[in-house]
């Protein structure tokens, strides 16, 4: 059941992305930023947690999940170290994600050439 819900929630988030790509003039960059900020806002309002409890990885893996991590990390750090946590918390929580993106992206760029579709 967990797997099914992960599939459904993750898929629905991506369908929203595809509709935005096909029916609006938003560029991929716009959609990316929209997803991260939506996740951050929903997280701050306490709503995104509920989506995670329903969809698990289907909610944490897509980009709104990244926005959620940013916000939750910030809140955590503010609780621990005070106001400076506004600056440190987000990146601490997402450090693994960002570092692996940079590292694996770099390795792939060394190993492969881009395809022309």
């Amino acid at each position: 059941m967990d797997y099914l819900m992960a599939f459904v929630v993750g898929g629905l988030i991506c369908v929203i992305g595809q509709i935005l790509m096909d029916s609006t003039k938003l560029t991929p960059a716009h959609v990316l930023v929209l997803f991260v900020t939506s996740g951050a806002i929903l997280s701050g309002l306490g709503i995104y947690n509920k989506l995670i409890s329903i969809g698990g990885a289907g909610a944490t893996i897509p980009l709104p999940g990244f926005g959620h991590s940013l916000v939750q990390g910030t809140i955590q750090d503010i609780k621990q170290i005070g106001i400076l946590g506004v600056f440190t918390g987000g990146l601490k929580a997402t450090a693994a994600g960002i570092s692996s993106a940079v590292l694996f992206g770099y390795i792939m760029a060394l190993l492969f050439n881009p395809s022309r579709k």
Partner: protein
Amino acid sequence: MSIKKLGEQTLKYKKPPIINSYYSIVGPKEGKGPLGKYFDMVLDDDLIGQKSWEKAERKMMFDASINAIKKSKFKVTDIDFFIAGDLLNQIISSSFAAKDLQIPFLGIYGACSTFCQGLIFGSVLIDGGFANNVLVATSSHFCTAERQYRYPLELGNQRPPTSQWTVTGSGAVVLSNSGKGLKVTYSTLGKILDFGLKDPNDMGSAMAPAAAHTIIQHFKDTGFTPKDYDLIVTGDLGVIGKDIASEIISNQEYDISNVFSDCGTMIFTPSQDTHSGGSGCACSAVVSCGYIFREMEKGIFTRVLIVATGAMLSKASYLQGESIPCIANAVTIESK
């Protein structure tokens, strides 16, 4: 007194320059399209064994140019001037090709209208008695255009449904004041038109008014009507832009529906999934140098109006929220 100018925007050549020779090179995708068998060279690999897409593009332009010169039976030293342009910043494909050709060089920029722009300048040099032979060339490449205008291929982005596919290819023409061949008889220079459209993924719609305006002005300046042409073909309006241009032109009481076509819709089949069709400088160039000129020599068309269309935006102007100013330049080619 401008004795060779007709009306507001059209030139009439006194001694029409002759298309002495032409050559077209295209990438694999274009080779698999409906006009595949018309092109002089279809590449297996659009990297052509080079280290970058940019190096591949300038090699295509150089090869098209050298082969056009060979076909003309002239030597490189017989060519007085080289006029060329492309889509890349500072037209590097053209200037690097010119470096290797060592012909006096005039770089031009008209975005996707460059092919006709080049034919116009070349024809003026010849009809004006300034040159005997002029080489005109243009090129574009899907991968270099994506990197520059949209996103590098490495990002793996999706292309929206209205976007067009930049044609990978190069077309080159040798224009002369002697010999036998098709003739460039009239040219209509376009004005920049901007109707406030901002979407760089839908340039066809942005360019349609400019194409329509140049065609209408051509008729007004010359007194010709659609009946005087076997084919009126725009560069790269694509499916969407072509419909818009048709409508604007028929509102001005000219019915071109029987003879109207668009290089962007001719070069790919819908099944090749290019969304709105082909675009790029090479689109009008290779369709002309591959298909149109050949069919004219066979007698299928005797009088053609080629209207290459250009979207004159830059990455910066787009990011600054500007709309897309467009232009269309037209040349009349006759076989008799």
